[in-house]
């Protein structure tokens, strides 16, 4: 049965498209939630998720069961918030889960809410996700009508209300404390930590924020057990992972594979390899805010530890490939333009520093670079991105692809400075600077 090998997407494969409530229940859906609510204590649910070693799939990789256990045992309202902002450039995995199997998320949230004692849950969904919204909204309504949400679920005294907040935009909303401010109807500025959200989150109450893919792993763990989940992974990590590839490959897309599958297998087998006439030069392994990897890293397993040891992060697990027709200076300018634009403006190094990095890159790309520019970029990127100089890790993420580009593709930067021109320009037009 494909669901036992592919707990996230197997049902979609079996049905061949959108999984309705009927199809979901026919495949055993909501039985994990029924067991959790009727036969297990919240502590027991936390324990099995901890034992399974489920780690956050939004990018940080924090153990989910451990995070849940930080919720204090206090009276009053607690919240589960699903981070469905999915704004990390290059990332398109959560969209797939919502568009084709939205009940998997609803069931995961029901179990997670029960485990932390939340009676109100929200899905924070990015505003541009119209089709995912339509499917999730329909699924929540269907679940409510079927008594799977609301009061007295499965004949127990447990009640859960689940609502969707559609975001007004901005990348920073994916940062969990900024997300909570946005959920509260405020500007999405990150908050100082501590206090961390499990102690004081939405409206000052204990709050757990989990990514969509993370929560979608929960029903399978409850159905098949912690050991089954651990065995799904190839190396140290447990479970499967949604891996994606975009760029000049023959078959760009998304695949659920054992966590720890090598980068080479993902690119060459699943994505069909590079398009004819193009050579792979750089890999952003898990979104725009991860360090470039290069050809020598192809045989690394895509898991948290291996990618970190190579100086990058697995991030969202959806990789962006830079081929040999793409100018490394141009792609760096594109990335810094994004991060400069998306800074929330709260902290000075990020608000002032990122546009400055963008401007220096724009000058180099336009042939106006000056001797010493690369050393300036090195020095200031290190300052701007140093954790502790800003409230959140936006600037830290921003400089990861820049520092690694300066390391791996330095000859391209130097050539721009030496010749005052871009040799890629006839195939890749220059991105206009925001100025």
């Amino acid at each position: 049965m494909s669901v036992e090998l592919k707990p996230l997407t197997g049902r979609i494969d079996d049905v061949g498209g959108l999984v309705s409530l009927e199809a979901y229940r026919e495949a055993g859906g909501y039985e994990a939630a029924r067991r959790a609510l009727t036969e297990m204590t919240p502590g027991e649910v936390q324990e099995i998720v901890k034992e399974a070693n489920l780690r956050g799939r939004g990018g940080a990789g924090f153990p989910t069961g451990v995070k849940w256990s930080f919720v204090p045992d206090v009276e009053g309202r607690k919240y589960l918030v699903c981070n469905g902002d999915e704004m990390e450039p290059g990332t398109f995995k959560d969209r797939y889960l919502l568009e084709y199997d939205p009940h998997l998320l609803v069931e995961g949230m029901l179990i997670a809410s029960y485990a932390i004692g939340a009676d109100q849950a929200y899905v924070f969904l990015r505003g541009e996700y119209h089709e995912p919204y339509r499917q999730l909204d329909a699924a929540i309504r269907a679940a409510r009508e079927a008594g799977l949400l609301g009061d007295g679920i499965f004949g127990t005294s447990y009640a859960l209300s689940l609502d969707i907040h559609r975001s007004g935009g901005r990348y920073i909303c994916g940062e969990e404390t900024a997300l909570l401010n946005a959920l509260e109807g405020k500007r999405a500025n990150p908050r100082t930590k501590p206090p961390f959200p499990p102690a004081s989150g939405a409206w000052g109450r204990p709050t757990i924020v989990n990514n969509i893919e993370t929560l979608c792993n929960v029903p399978g763990i409850l159905s098949h057990g912690a050991e089954w989940y651990q065995d799904l992974g190839i190396g140290e990590d447990s479970g499967t992972k949604l891996y994606g590839v975009s760029g000049r490959v023959n078959n760009p897309g998304l695949w659920e594979l054992p966590i720890g599958t090598t980068i080479r297998e993902i690119i060459e087998v699943h994505a069909g390899g590079m398009m004819e006439g193009y050579r792979l030069r750089g890999i952003l392994p898990g979104g725009a805010s991860t360090d470039f990897l290069v050809e020598e890293h192809l045989d690394l397993p895509m898991d948290y530890g291996s990618i970190q040891a190579a100086g990058s992060r697995m991030g969202t697990g959806t990789m962006i490939l830079m081929d040999d027709s793409v100018c490394p200076v141009g792609i760096s300018l594109n990335l810094q333009h994004f991060f400069a634009q998306e800074s929330c403006g709260f902290c000075t190094p990020c608000r002032e520093g990122l546009p400055w990095l963008e401007q220096v890159l724009a000058d180099i790309e336009a042939g106006r670079g000056e001797p010493g520019d690369l050393e300036l970029l090195d020095k200031n990127a290190a300052f701007i991105g140093a954790p502790g100089n800003t409230f959140c890790l936006h600037a830290t993420g921003a400089i990861e692809p820049l520092q690694s580009a300066l390391k791996y593709f330095r000859e391209d930067f130097e050539e721009h400075l030496a010749t005052g021109r871009c040799k890629y320009r006839d195939v890749m037009p220059v991105q206009e600077s925001a100025g």
Binding site: R77, H165, S167, G168, A182, R187, S246, R248, L254, A288
Partner: protein, 162 residues
């Protein structure tokens, strides 16, 4: 303007929808973003009058609400055309040639990013990653996603939006 006039700017339907949104959060100002979305859905954009009216209804200052409205890029504080065209300019689409696509869209509708066509049919805006990177280069018109889009596809896509 008096309090009554501020509230009268909103229709009964808008007020009902905002009240419904406010019932899902612990306090009224927390529904600020939903309220802005509700009014924008009906009117296309958020005017100064709308800011004043929504702020009154939610029990917050107009200045505070405006600081929220101007933070979020999907809230429009200027009028937009009947259809909003958003061409992704993030990294996957950059690799796949989004600059060429943006130029082709500019040529097709005759405006630059941030501008609206003279007949109010289209407003062109840049947008960050649309989460359709396997379909790069991607673009969105209103609530419809397109990708991968070649310049040749544009006339057929644009003609669906009158």
């Amino acid at each position: 303007m008096s309090e009554v006039e501020f509230i009268e700017v909103l229709s009964n339907e808008e007020i009902d929808l905002i009240e419904e949104a406010a019932s899902h959060v612990p306090d009224r100002p927390s529904a600020a973003i939903e309220a802005l979305q509700i009014v924008q859905e009906k009117r296309g954009w958020i005017s100064d009058q709308s800011i004043g009216a929504i702020a009154r209804l939610l029990g917050m200052s107009a200045a505070e609400l405006d600081s929220i409205a101007t933070f979020y890029n999907l809230i429009f504080r200027q009028p937009v055309g009947r259809h909003v065209v958003m061409v992704c300019d993030s990294v996957s689409c950059y690799v796949m040639g989004c600059d060429n696509l943006r130029v082709a869209v500019e040529d097709s509708i005759g405006v630059k990013p941030g501008e609206t066509t003279a007949d109010d049919r289209f407003t062109l805006l840049p947008i960050v990653c649309l989460g359709a990177c396997d379909r790069a280069p991607a673009m969105m018109i209103d609530d419809q996603l397109f990708g991968p889009v070649k310049a040749d596809d544009l006339p057929g896509i644009l003609e669906q939006f009158e």
